[in-house]
Amino acid sequence: MTNLPPQDQDDTRVHEEQAPEAQGTPRWVKIFGLVGLVLAALLIVGKLTGGHGPGRHMPQSEVSVTIVGLPVSSVIAG
């Protein structure tokens, strides 16, 4: 964001030959969208098949024995 946008992009005054509605979505945006959709689909498939997800790889011992950072043993012991 070091440079300001060109004047014709800065405001909504547009020359006839540069009408933005005629430009459509740029190709690089379509490629970004396509890659994003593929990655999202892969993540959803991974999640549905149980291969991926938040906390999935957490060490089991710590997940099962820790409550708000305190070992369950110390909580139970009071």
């Binding site: 964001m1 992009q9 509605e21 979505t25 690089w28 906390g55 790889h57 820790t66």
Partner: protein, 162 residues
């Protein structure tokens, strides 16, 4: 504000690169003491450097875009950058608990070189993926590829209507 945004964004990327180096060391180093120290360092790096930089990068980026003619919704590169930053921050925050649990396990008496192997590999994958996304965000910021969103097109069409 621009300086703050550049510093926090590039700092975030550098900190993730450091995290990745530690994660690889934690998986490959044969010295158990080094490995244990690595996971404690990774938790500290995440809590006190990466998360604050990520939040500051997002906030400063939003403020910076709203204070300049770029705005938040006018140009595709700004919108895509915002979406990628938000996704990266959410994934990071989801990983924090795993990193803390791993640091606790590493300092426990039951630690062995094969402990939590899947979790340690997962950290490498997430850090590498995050680094790629942050690199893409940086490239977008530098090159600012052309392309205006439909919001600008609608506004200009209404202005041109007699």
């Amino acid at each position: 504000m621009l300086t703050a945004h550049i510093v926090t964004s590039v700092g975030w990327m550098g900190a993730v690169a450091g995290f990745l180096a530690l994660a690889v060391t934690g998986l490959n180093n044969p010295d158990a003491a080094v490995v244990q120290a690595v996971y404690v360092a990774m938790e500290l790096l995440t809590t006190f450097v990466i998360v604050p930089l990520a939040v500051a990068s997002l906030v400063s980026g939003v403020v910076q875009s709203l204070l300049t003619p770029w705005r938040l919704w006018r140009h595709y590169w700004v919108v895509i950058k915002l979406v990628l930053t938000v996704i990266s921050l959410v994934v990071l925050l989801l990983q924090v608990q795993s990193i803390r649990a791993l640091a606790l396990t590493a300092t426990g008496a039951a630690w062995s070189p094969t402990s939590s192997l899947e979790a340690r590999q997962s950290l490498i994958v997430h850090a590498a993926g995050g680094l790629v996304v942050l690199l893409v965000v940086t490239v977008l910021s530098v090159f600012k590829p052309k392309g205006q969103t439909p919001f600008v097109r609608q506004a200009s069409a209404e202005l041109r209507r007699p």
